[in-house]
């Protein structure tokens, strides 16, 4: 076992490209690598992945652990976790950053438990801070209540592991790749690691616009439940060309699709205009759109925390405010010739 003290990023790929969240995490890793004077390494696992090493190097990877095997073509939960855990045990990185994606959310908890370390889900901020001279990864997550954030540390166990949603950090600038060491790792692919086996992946046709790409996002919260249905909201969305998202309770109610859930465990969006309707403004929700350029919030409770972050707050009953908004926008010629 070698203690490398490296900072690792799990490299995810999508259609033969490195996933955006991986680049975002590499940006953060490079920042920490400089502060701590340690190497930044990527863990790249799959089939024919070696062609992607150049891109990882261009975003700051100084070392790449490549685990390449045809049997690892699809995401294989158990086999991926076993391979990554082995690597963690062997090289003992100090920090391991993982995207909070379909893959990351499935893989990270298993790896953390098997490696005997902690894991913090959906961090909204990461910093290095010193405790008695020892650098620790300060992992920021939303708390409950009004405006609280919590800081989580993993003081003893290594690596310090976190997952981070796409969109929380910015993609760094691509650079000319520097020196990058490629470590070809012998894959573990015997049957023992395939008690669960992915046999097919079916992609669904994407019919609606991804919420993270919309210029205008309307988010509905628990208060909208009083409106009996979303028809008026849909009309408003059509007028503004907006995509509708919502809070977790609205997803639980089945009013909003899971992939349009906004917040810590959902999507992080940064549209030009964000309209929050009937959401009180719990941190778990608001962290999902803090980077929006302009925020309008409507809620009937004037004390709702959402008003502390809104550029314009409207106190009122949604059943009155929304039709009024539609009328007013129509008067300005919106929604006629769309």
């Amino acid at each position: 076992m070698t203690e490398t003290n490296e900072i690792w990023v799990l490299a995810e790929q999508k259609n033969r490209h490195i996933a955006r969240v991986t680049l975002e995490l590499l940006g953060k890793a490079v920042e920490f690598g400089t502060v701590l004077d340690v190497k930044v390494a990527s863990v790249l696992i799959g089939s024919n992945v070696n062609e992607l090493t150049g891109e990882l190097a261009a975003y700051g990877s100084e070392k790449i652990y490549a685990i390449d095997d045809p049997k690892l073509n699809y995401y294989q939960g158990e086999a991926y976790a076993a391979n990554v855990t082995d690597l963690v045990r062997q090289y003992k990185p100090v920090i391991f950053l993982i995207g909070s994606t379909d893959t990351g959310r499935d893989l990270a908890p298993r790896v953390a438990a098997e490696a005997g370390t902690g894991l913090t889900a959906h961090c909204i901020g990461l910093e290095i801070e010193y405790h008695d001279g020892i650098p620790l990864l300060s992992q920021i997550v939303p708390g409950w209540g009004v405006t609280k954030r919590m800081k989580i540390l993993c003081p003893q166990k290594r690596p310090q592991m976190v997952t981070v949603k796409p969109g929380v950090f910015d993609v760094p600038k691509r650079k000319a790749p520097g020196n990058c060491e490629i470590v070809q790792v012998m894959p573990k692919i015997n049957d023992r690691y395939f008690r669960s086996e992915t046999i097919e992946v079916k992609a669904e046709e994407v019919t609606s616009r991804p919420i993270e790409e919309a210029d205008v996002v309307i988010a509905v919260g628990w208060g909208v439940y009083s409106m009996d249905n979303l028809e008026l909201i849909k009309e408003l969305a059509e007028i503004l060309g907006a995509v509708i998202g919502g809070t977790r309770p609205m997803v639980d109610k089945g009013w909003i699709a899971e992939k349009n859930m906004i917040g810590q465990s959902g999507k992080v969006v940064s549209p030009k205009l964000f309209i929050s309707l009937g959401a009180s403004g719990a941190m778990h929700f608001t962290t999902g759109f803090e980077k929006a350029k302009f925020i309008i919030a409507v809620d009937e409770n004037p004390e709702a925390p959402i008003f502390k972050i809104a550029d314009i707050g409207i106190v009122g009953d949604l059943r009155e405010v929304v039709p009024c908004l539609i009328d007013e926008l129509k008067k300005r010629g919106k929604g006629n010739g769309k």
Binding site: I152, T198, R248, F294, I312, G316
Partner: protein
Amino acid sequence: MNIAVCLKQVPHPDYLSKIIYDPTTNRLQRAGVPLIINPVDKNAIETGIQLKEKYSGKIIVITMGPPQAKESLEEALAMGADEAILLCDPAFAGSDTYATAFTLASALKKIGLCDLILCGNETLDSGTSQVGPQIAAFLDIPHVTNVKAINYPEDGLLLVERSLENGYMRIKVRLPALLTVTKEINKPRIPSAIGIMQVAGKPFNTWRLAELNLSPLEVGLAGSPTQTVQIPETEQRHAGDILQGDVTKVVKTAVAKLHELKMI
């Protein structure tokens, strides 16, 4: 098929924004907050009941929590689970997901490992989705997260569909295994009057630290690799104008502002 369903009692969503922290322990203060079964955990219970109805077997529901978590277990019994186990000990307080999963896994070992362990895919409160896969890791059994459909083609093997953001995966998984299910998988039943009456006759056990044969250092805050160390106040976005009063006028002002800023 013997099935264990792990569930969590969480605050009612109406109260999520009203929850406060104890400033000295950094723990949630739950007093006065109505508690419910985490919504998607009911889908996990329903999944278990449907499998039992088809293939026979027994369903044990289990949770770790304070004494009032008993109510959630009783609701699960009323839905159709056969036995309930509450893991309740002051030593369990302050558990992170690692210690929670470790404690639940220890209880599942004591029960005698079931063929199938079911969890909801995410909780309403902390929403980490971590405990399920971590339990599977501690038990050294395979897991599949976000399962939206289950088939049982042959003994010891399940064929499941795992929901992805844009699509799904088909996965073969050998039993024993742990699955976390999504809310699309079914519609949880409401307990019937008979179901509610039967609760009192069903086995209900409370296990403390001693019954699990664990050291206090392995559970709760002491057994948690991660620690919540402080709750810093942070900068917020600057609050803008809050408009109140006549709705028509207020909306007119807001839309005019948007127009002026070329937002619309």
